[in-house]
Symmetry: C2
Subunit: 368 residues, 2 copies
């Protein structure tokens, strides 16, 4: 997407071959591009959330493996790189998927050929992600168009949680791809942007994306979505996901479950947009089987932003004696999901729905 | 309740007869007591949330009328004071209830006797509130005791939203009264404190109350409660309410509805503690009939707290171009409320339940 008139992806190699990413910790206040110079830096970038979002985590891990191969292309190095990167974040399955893909491509090769092949495979993973998200946009667009047709002259009100935008992927985003496509077609859209405490990815990233693209939007606290749905002010919800089970349970940023409950209660369609690498075909029951990352309580007790004097920093919002609890994701049961929007089309959040779109994976499951 | 060993109410007259309140905007970072020297200051204190919480708003309004009577005890002054105070906040019904009570006590009196009578009636309203909340504590205590008995050796995990603590009332609080009583009896309790964006009354006030009283508690973001309920980590939810309809619909701080949905989905009991002055017997359908205050978007785009250098201030969390939407309350339909805890006992959130506890009000309704 464009930033001040220049097209960007969220991860790329520059003219010198250096791997570059947007250090998203500074958004929306500063747009900083940094180099990932080593596998260790790639791991740090994922762990400390310079980059985040399941698809971008996968693409960054792939580039991390490639950087490791330039440092030391041995089997030991490959195994170590994959282990280090796999340990950075526990919930997003794309991370594991990307590392498996890199290992499969590199392990059979002689070490001398691994670095070049690794960068080529990492670039493929990034390009595939862009194509996948563009296809999600194509499939999601008719849903928005239909809502626009139903209420002519009124913008389609779309609520989204966290950031499943182009910053969370390599480009286009998952939840935002249909929105960008709709705006491109001239369909009037207004986005309710959930703040998404504790890290405020909605306020910092999704609002920045919407503002950068000139899309009408309103920032709301995470508490407000249910009320807006009760009042008919939300036409649809679209979120992303960090991991989806074979039966359609969805792990996504903490608070997604609450919005899904409200949408269900108010008869508002609740869509989850996902690239197929976020499907964990090995799991069924998301609540029982998906590990949920517990992050630092400091993310809850402090809020980061720009002070009146222009400085960036955090303020403590509670007593010194109070500790914060910080589960980072929750699981939305498939029964609350109206449909899944994938790169191959839209399907119900059921085993049959997913198997219908991805029969080759479902066949492997049946055989396994 | 005690603050550093000294017993306080949230509003009182000191030895000189001055009306004093805790300026709650500075909590938890500073404990500041201020004088309300005029009716205009009482109105400002309510409007700008030096004081907040439906019962305390009512008690403050009553004292505001008394202050007006010391300035000018005429009929015109009485009418103006009530009009000014009534316009400060639209959702809490206690405000209107307290003003009606003051008007009823003062209008029949000759102006020369009004000031003294007004302070006496305001003191009664404050004392009644303390007695009401103590009774809510008595009735709510057995619910907590029963949960403690069910899981011996494990603390009872109670989730609360916003601040329905002693700071929101004159003393004891509504939702917190049963908690303070349980702790007083030695029942092990752990409180999940919802941050309660945008104004963070949970982080700033409830966490401060819990820390001051030495009650084990964990601050969580508003997004987290559903996840905790899914995992069995919440035994009960207790919230307050700003207005309750005759059939048991509950208007409370924005986000309450989402927690009620999650509690319902997870089989967690969801209790609402309320003094009867928050019941609006004239209303049935909360969603259609209760006006919801829309506050400044700046409360959403900015977060206030203490910076690392000790200064208090706000940080902006989103792009300059992004505006905030800020509905301050939502309505939880009675069907999601397990029971109401009132000063007369516990009842189902139904017209019959409320009429059973308050037959004299229900009789008036039937006659009217």
């Amino acid at each position: 997407m464009q930033v001040n008139g220049t097209p960007y992806r969220s991860i790329w190699r520059d003219g010198t071959g250096a791997v570059r990413v947007i250090d998203q910790r500074w958004l929306p206040h500063e747009f900083r591009v940094v180099e990932l110079a080593s596998c260790a830096e790639a791991a740090e970038a994922i762990r400390d959330m310079w980059v985040r979002g399941a698809p971008l985590i996968g693409a960054t891990a792939a580039h991390g493996v490639a950087l490791a191969m330039t440092e030391d292309p041995s089997d030991t190095s490959l195994a170590q790189a994959c282990a280090t990167l796999a340990a950075t974040r526990p919930t997003a399955v794309n991370l594991r998927w990307a590392l498996d893909a890199m290992r499969a491509a590199l392990a059979p090769l002689p070490p001398a050929r691994r670095a070049e092949a690794a960068f080529a495979r990492a670039a493929e993973i990034a390009d595939e992600d862009v194509a996948i998200n563009a296809a999600i946009g194509d499939h999601g667009l008719p849903l928005i168009r239909a809502l626009a047709t139903r209420n002519p002259g009124r913008p389609v009100n779309i609520l989204t949680h966290c950031n499943a935008g182009w910053l969370a992927t390599v480009d286009w985003g998952t939840a935002t791809a249909p929105i960008y496509r709709a705006v491109g077609e001239g369909i009037p859209v207004h986005v309710w942007v959930d703040e998404t405490r504790p890290r405020n990815q909605g306020a910092q990233l999704t609002a920045w994306e919407m503002a950068s693209a000139g899309i009408p939007h309103t920032l709301i606290v995470d508490n407000a979505g249910g009320h807006l749905m009760q009042r008919g002010e939300v036409d649809m919800v679209i979120t992303g996901t960090d991991r989806t089970t074979a039966r359609g349970d969805v792990a996504n940023k903490i608070g997604t479950y609450l919005k899904a409950l409200a949408a269900h209660d108010c008869g508002v369609p609740f869509y989850v947009a996902l690239p197929s690498p976020t499907i964990d075909w090995s799991l069924k029951d998301g609540l029982a089987e998906i590990p949920i990352e517990e992050r630092s309580g400091a993310e809850v007790t402090h809020v980061w932003g720009r002070a009146a004097d222009g400085t960036l920093g955090a303020v403590r919002i509670c007593p010194e004696a109070t500790r914060g609890g910080n589960p980072a994701f929750d699981v939305t049961p498939a029964r609350l999901v109206t449909a899944l929007i994938t790169e191959r089309g839209i399907c119900p959040a059921t085993p049959e729905g997913l198997a219908g779109l991805f029969p080759e994976r479902a066949a492997v499951l049946r055989a396994g």
